[in-house]
Structures are given as C-alpha cells and as structure tokens.
Symmetry: C2
Subunit: 177 residues, 2 copies
DNA sequence: CACAAGTTTCAATAATTATTGAAACTTGTG
DNA sequence: CACAAGTTTCAATAATTATTGAAACTTGTG
C-alpha cells in the first residue's frame, strides 16, 4: 500500500482500506465495536483465510483484541474456522453470502435488543390497576401498544430470517415495493 | 413512592419506575443514551405535560442534561412542546401513538445508520479493476452484494415508515405472518 | 432598559467501554 | 513429560461518551 500516489483512481489496496474503515464507522453507529466491524470487513474482502497473526498485522491491533474479536465473530456465525492439516495455526474465513450475513446479524440483534425487552414488558403489563385512574390508563395503554409492536417486529424479523434467497429477492421485493 | 412495601403486587409508581428503568436499559442496547430513553419513557407514561424542572426532579438529572435531552427528543419528533398561555415555562408531551413513534425511530436510525453508509458504498463500488485478479473479484462481489442489500433495506424501511395504521395491522400482518 | 424567570451552552469531570500486553493456559509431538 | 507453537484470559490503561453545573444567553414585562 503506497498512499503517496495521489492518482484519482485509487488502488485496490486503498479501496479495501477505505471499505474496512467505512465498515468500522458503520459498526460504531450500530453498537458493535469498531474493531469487530473492521475484522469482519477485512475477512469479507479477503479471498483467502487469514490467521490471527495476519489480522493483528493488517489492522495493527493487539493479539488479545484479535483473539476476542474473532471469537465473537464465530459466535455470531459470521466467520468460520479453517483448519489446515499439519498446521497448528487457525485460519478464519468470512461467510460471504450477504443474505446469510444479514440473517446472522438480525438474529444477534433481535436476541440482544428485542427478546430481552419482551420478557420485561410481559412482567410489567401483567400489573393490575384501577381503570378510573388516569395515570394507570396511560401507563397501561402505552405498555399494551409497545407489546403489540414488539410482537409484530418479532414476527417480521423472524420471517426475514427464514427468508429464502428467491423469496427475498422476488416475492418480497417485487410484491411490496 | 414507598419502596419499603414488599407487597407482591407493585404499586403503579413502582411499575412506572421499572418501566423507565427498562426503557433506559433497552435504549443503551440500541445506541441511544440511557437518559434519552428514560426521559422518553417518563413522558410516555405521564398523562400530563412535564416541564424541564419536573423531568430533572423525577429522574434526578442535571438541568443541562434535561435540556439537551428534551431538545434531542423534539428533534426526533418523539416529543412536542406544549406552551401554556401566560406561562414562561415550557412543557413537554410525548407522542403517544406508538406507530408514529416507530416511524420517528426508523427515520432517525435509517438516516444515521443506513443513508450515510450508502453514500460511501456508492463511491467505493464505482472503482474499476482487473477481473482476472481474485482480490478484485472478491472485493467487487462483496461490495455489490452489500449495495443490493442496502437498497432493499432502504426500500423496506421507507415502506414501513409510510405504512398506514390499517395497512400495518391488517394487510401486512395478516398476509405475511 | 433593568430585572426576573426561564433556557442553552460548553469546559471540566465522571462513567463507561474498548484495548493492550503479559501471564496463564492448551495441545500436539519427540 | 518437556517443549514449542500457538490461543485465551484478564487486570491495568486508554479512549470514548455522557453528565454536571455554572456562566452566558433569551425573552417578556414593568
């Protein structure tokens, strides 16, 4: 990578670096750590599998950080281990099918943001009260609406996760847009 | 609020406090500040409009924090000003229609998370390259897929934002679930 | 215009979250 | 079992983000 070249057409290496940076920024606006997003981006644009060592080097992050981040990506299902016979070192490849990637991300975010909330809401909504009391009425109405909404969102997301490629691109897209 | 009562049925005040707490926690897992979510929750369950003073007091936050948070909620469109003739002080009410609330939230998050990203992607995807090069092929394929996905998400979200109450609850929900 | 009653701004600080890096651990091999 | 080649953990630290609170500002009224 020679950033000294101020050519109007950036080199592939520059473009890749920009993509990794972009994905990192987007990641933060999303609630995942910048590093997680960057490691993911790096693996997405790497044709070959990379080792922890490669990742550390290319993103200049510490070994600990690389190790934990890769583990989290494996956890999300966004990255696979690739073991090479006779080698001790582990290599990692990203899931390249973006529909699959989307499913993983929806699944993880739904679990983190929605499912947890639904549980708490159910408890609160069960609270009995005096319907003559304005405070109670507003509280109860708000809670009920939020619950309904959470239920619909849940169903929508679940449906999207199950979506087949064909359904997603054809039925869904063409019928509804 | 007397938290000394260990009655199995919590009082309304306790339930409201729990709700505000819950919304605050959910808010953080979402990427908005805890305070923002809590002020929103407080206003959602308050039948009457509240002043900055009321909010500061009920959530024990500073004046500056309350002021900035309320301004941000106005910005999102989640809260309205209520001016009372002859009074200097400003009061605030939350938008109570949760479908409307959802629209506001989708709009804000889409702007923050998606639109920004699309702009950067378009730039990167325009990059020409050598199709014989594996690095380039993988890079280009990934970018194209992400762009398609971003476009579909954009359309889906836009559609959801325009959704009428009836469409949302009937057509959409019943046809697709 | 001076004052009262409020609101907003923003530098300093507190709280939270991410990262490092060295030590502990794991695992395959002679 | 000792060692080499790796991986993981986690306390300390750095970086980031949210909050405070006092000073500056705004606005309506006598």
């Amino acid at each position: 990578m020679q950033p000294t070249n101020s050519n109007p057409v950036p080199s592939l290496a520059e473009a890749r670096a920009q993509f990794i940076h972009l994905w990192g920024v987007s990641g933060s606006s999303w609630g995942v750590s910048k590093t997680l997003a960057q490691v993911h981006a790096l693996l997405l644009v790497s044709p070959a599998a990379l080792s922890t060592e490669d990742i550390m080097e290319q993103l200049t992050i510490s070994r600990g950080n690389a190790s934990m981040t890769v583990r989290e990506l494996l956890d999300w299902g966004l990255v696979y281990k690739e073991l090479r016979p006779g080698e001790r070192r582990e290599y990692f490849v990203a899931e390249k099918d973006m529909l699959q990637v989307t499913r993983c991300i929806i699944r993880a975010r739904k679990r983190r943001e929605l499912d947890q909330m639904k549980r708490s809401l159910d408890q609160l909504a069960a609270l009995p009260g005096d319907p003559a009391d304005a405070e109670y009425r507003v509280f109860h109405a708000t809670l009920t609406e939020i619950q309904q909404l959470a239920t619909v969102s849940d169903k929508l997301l679940t449906r999207l996760m199950q979506a087949e490629k064909s359904w997603f691109w054809n039925t869904f897209l063409k019928l509804f847009m």
